[in-house]
């Protein structure tokens, strides 16, 4: 069984350099018969082995998905992830977008909803874009698009005329985006507000007043290192108006 070597390590701390190796069961006719496994972030394939390349906790999701739950601040672009980027340059038919990765991503002016050669999107240097990676690998310049496969924007594109942008760790971002996130449930009860969370650690907040915007931003930032009780106590104090 290929999965058995993973099974007894689920929930354990693993370190870079750890190796999961397995013998592929071979049938009589020489062909290999094994179920496939998917190794997510933190695991990489090396021949017939799986190497750990991040320190963290080994997680598992049915049926055959394994990954390392790790804490980091440096964003590495991954295909399909939605991020908040800052447009840093306009050059010909592409925009350069800073997403916090090792290299700036490129964003074609045609990759916006309703954009044609004639009808260019109105994007200025310094604008924020919520976009999705269509190309992201270690050997190539990452590329963003602001449309899905049907050509719909789905909330992607330029946003944030005002509001406040700040950076948090990638772990906090994942906690914010988790289904039924506790932090989001607590935030929901406070003021009318809007947040945009990018997988690259950027969070953008806007509320009715500047004061409220800053309160929400500070609350999210402070969620980084707080237990659930501490957080709920703090949120209650804010809701009561005595911070």
């Amino acid at each position: 069984m290929m999965q058995s070597c993973f099974k007894n390590k689920i929930g354990d701390v693993v370190l870079p350099g750890d190796i999961f190796s397995f013998e592929l069961p071979v049938t009589e006719d020489g062909s290999v018969k094994a179920e496939k496994i998917i190794c997510g972030p933190g695991l990489r394939r090396n021949g017939d082995e799986v190497l750990v390349c991040k320190s963290g906790i080994l997680r598992h999701k049915q049926p055959n998905l394994y990954w390392i739950d790790s804490q980091q601040k440096r964003y590495v672009p991954a295909k399909g992830e939605s991020v908040i980027g800052i447009v840093t340059a306009k050059s010909g038919d592409i925009f350069k977008v800073d997403v916090g990765g090792s290299e700036q991503a490129s964003l074609s002016y045609l990759a916006f909803e309703g954009a044609t050669k004639r009808n260019r999107p109105n994007v200025q240097v310094g604008d924020l874009v919520y976009a999705q990676f269509i190309i992201a690998n270690k050997d190539m310049e990452p590329e963003l698009v602001c449309i899905d496969s049907n050509g719909k924007a789905n909330g992607m594109g330029v946003f944030g005329a005002d509001g406040f942008l700040f950076k948090v760790s990638l772990g906090l971002v994942r906690r914010l985006l988790a289904p039924q996130s506790e932090i989001v449930k607590d935030l929901e009860k406070l003021f009318p507000s809007e947040i945009v969370v990018g997988m690259n650690g950027c969070v953008w907040v806007k509320a009715k007043t500047v004061q409220q915007t800053l309160i929400v931003a500070n609350l999210i930032e402070s969620c980084e290192n707080m237990t659930a009780q501490q957080r709920q106590a703090l949120f209650k104090r804010v809701a009561d108006g005595n911070l």
């Binding site: 990489r44 394939r45 991954a78 939605s82 919520y130 985006l177 289904p179 947040i195 509320a207």
Partner: protein, 165 residues
């Protein structure tokens, strides 16, 4: 005399295109053989065992999104931005629906809007009209007859009638 002159010329010159015509058959053959030998000497190969394409049993996924079922990144609370709230429900229910579909995966039994009988009836007419389309013009009347098995009285063939004075 021509032969004498040719043998004195260098090999490389003889190999040129415009010299080919003046060469004799045996000289040509020899040149070709020389060339072949040069190529086979220069042609080298790696002494490696034959590489077999193996099927991959390990698939890499670099994103956390499918691992942790992360939700849509734009959120609005208490009606601050109704547009985003609409999008939120759309995107998040969309994901959940997909999951549910996977969970209730029951091959061979899908909920259908169109019953099998209705489908068959529809395709019946489609098949006929497609058949007509692909039939050659000449065969078309015959086909029509086949379709309506009760042959109607065939109209007399139209012919040019000479006008009477």
């Amino acid at each position: 005399m021509a032969n004498d002159g040719a043998s004195k010329l260098s090999k490389n010159l003889l190999r040129m295109k415009f010299m080919q015509r003046s060469l004799g058959a045996d000289v040509k053959k020899q040149l070709e053989e020389d060339e072949k030998r040069i190529i086979s000497d220069e042609h080298w190969y790696l002494d490696l065992p034959e590489l077999k394409a193996k099927e991959n049993y390990i698939i890499e996924e670099s994103s956390f999104v499918p691992c942790e079922d992360l939700v849509y990144g734009r959120m609005s609370f208490k009606g601050f931005n109704p547009e985003v709230e609409k999008l939120m429900t759309l995107m998040n229910t969309h994901n959940r629906d997909e999951e549910e579909e996977e969970e209730m995966e029951d091959p061979g039994r899908m909920e259908t809007d169109v019953t099998d009988e209705e489908m068959a009836r529809r395709y019946e007419s489609l098949v006929e009209s497609m058949k007509k389309k692909f039939a050659k013009k000449r065969n078309r009347p015959a086909l029509d007859q086949d379709v309506n098995s009760n042959v109607e009285d065939v109209q007399p063939k139209k012919a040019f009638l000479k006008p009477q004075d």
